[in-house]
Point group: C2
Chain length 359, copies 2
């Protein structure tokens, strides 16, 4: 680790690649030959347009997005998408399907219900969201405008292993596993992701929207909440600096070898952690094995009263932000793309050592 940097397992805003931060530092207070920083130039300037275009090109190349996909960089956070999706696509006399697999999925559903019939097709609320409901039990219906799901559940440490296969377009909140693995684009109408987990700082939400899906949106929408506004042109000032950092993260990911490479590394990181948890009676995972997330590894101690000691000693050991969300308790290691294998190895070493001292 570079001097002063610690091993950061924050659930989000999460750790970013060090080369990205170093490059941003180099470009303060002057970006290349422009005479100003990136924060201080017009979003209509050739320099900024080049950055945004480059971010789009890299995303297209990394995910294999054809021209039928629009790429938007919006402000307001993924939470705004909870409203914007049904506002655009759920008619007041229509219906849309929602999979309730966690707190964010519930919030997305709550906004749909304000607009039309947001149907719950399955829920794991009965078991504190510690599993992904089996698709054979989903209550599907051919009249759904779309099926909304949360591909990875940050709080509960669960993740869809497979892309849902249904008769309507998928809409996905991919905030916490975007670009961690390939996306089967054919099934989707819209994918959104707040940047602050896998692809950048908080303040920008990437929205991928298929043109044929965009075209069936409702009319007379508020300008800023109409996806068509942003697909047509740069309507207002985007979150310039956040987009600039996203572009750097995408370049870093390309450099690493792209999605398949990062997916392999992510799998190794998660496997090592889950093996450590499963190989001991001292630790236990909170999510059902077949629903476990490769991004957020949630676990508890058999001796729950030692958990705060674990978190405190880990902190002293340079392992940051391991406290689990209050609705699950215990520990959570968020191991997004930018979390290094080295950090996971040091965490595992610490876990073994902690067990030895307290087991």
């Amino acid at each position: 680790m570079q001097s002063g940097r610690l091993h950061n397992f924050s659930a989000g805003p999460g750790t970013l690649p060090l080369p990205v931060l170093e490059s941003a530092r180099e470009e303060l207070p002057v970006y290349k030959g422009t005479g100003a920083s990136v924060m201080e130039i017009s979003h209509r300037s050739p320099e900024y347009i080049q950055i945004e275009n480059s971010a789009r090109d890299r995303l297209r190349s990394l995910l294999g997005l054809t021209d039928e996909w629009h790429i938007l960089f919006l402000g307001g956070g993924a939470s705004m998408q909870f409203h914007q999706v049904p506002l655009n696509f759920l008619h007041s006399d229509g219906q849309a399907a929602y999979l309730l697999t966690g707190a964010w999925a519930k919030k997305a559903h709550a906004e749909a219900v304000r607009i039309g019939h947001g149907r719950i097709v399955a829920s794991s609320a009965d078991s504190n969201f510690n599993y992904i409901p089996d698709s054979s039990l989903w209550n599907l219906d051919s009249n759904d405008a779309y099926l909304h799901y949360t591909s990875n559940n940050t709080i509960y440490g669960t993740q869809f292993r497979n892309t849902p296969y249904v008769n309507c377009p998928l809409v996905c909140d991919a905030s916490s596993d975007f670009l961690s693995r390939p996306i089967e684009l054919d099934r989707y109408g819209l994918i959104y992701a707040g940047a602050q987990k896998n692809i950048g700082p908080a303040g920008v939400t990437v929205v991928l929207i298929r043109d044929s899906f965009l075209q069936i949106r409702k009319s007379k929408l508020p300008t800023m909440l109409d996806y068509g506004t942003h697909a047509a042109k740069c309507f207002n000032t985007p979150p310039v600096y956040a987009v600039y950092l996203v572009e750097k993260v995408l370049a870093w990911l390309e450099e690493l070898g792209g999605i398949s490479e990062i997916q392999a590394t992510n799998r190794k990181k998660a496997d090592l952690l889950y093996r450590t948890i499963d190989g001991s009676e001292f630790y236990r995972g909170t999510a059902e094995t077949k629903s476990r997330s490769q991004m957020n590894v949630t676990f508890r101690l058999a001796k729950e009263d030692l958990e705060s000691v674990f978190i405190q000693q880990a902190r002293e050991h340079g392992l940051l932000a391991l406290k689990g969300h209050r609705s699950v308790g215990g520990m959570r290691a968020s191991i997004y793309n930018a979390c290094q294998m080295e950090s996971v190895e040091i965490l595992v070493e610490f876990m073994r050592d902690f067990e030895q001292r307290n087991g």
Copy 2:
């Protein structure tokens, strides 16, 4: 100017104080003793909460905001406020007053019309928005829920000299002159400002809302667009890094002596530029004298065909972003808070020299 920094007259995103950028640079890739940058820590962490609280405290102190004012840091840009304001405060059978003094005011009005009766009380569209309509001619009505106006019109170089005095609460888009002068808070219900002109980078919008005004908003609003959501608590991840930079800009402004001090400097900068324009037949201002902005000085050359040469040579002289908006033409010098007197002096020198060479 620090090596590589040029004189930046960008209309927005605009120039930021150099000490702010240097301090941000210093805190990359590690913020104080945290082991990570500000972009990589939880928005629920004590470190970030301290930053946001400090930004609020500084704003309260700079503007004299009492506890009856909520201070929100929202994503989505000021353009989202064009929708959010009428969504919260304009009933479908109600009415609200709009002053049309420029492109942004028109856009705000257009969003109100989608929701209820957005009445135009005055407009300067008849003269390409080069003046602020005299208040004695406003078509006021005692049933208006609020009067919305744009305190400074970036494109047209006009600005309200005085706070409107009407019988309903004011709602103000103060994006391009926020914190450049004191605000007569008593008359307002809500004030919003995109950060990227006077107080920070693009990506965060500061919203000040009086509690008594907040309480009369409509019910059953989409969660993210209900001002009450954000007044009650930190609902979702804020644009962390943008808020962090705003906090630094506020600290810089306090250090300078606060609002009255910056107002005096702003006046000196604008006076020097307008004197230079008025003192010569070679230049002419585009805004009516009594409506001139202290933030955006718009001017043209008597010989309009020389304007592109002026802009090009200014650029070579280290004077950036002087091209006027296409709807006015000519030149625009945006001289926001962070634009130094020195930059204006060098611009004026260049203007005199250019006149001598081409007059």
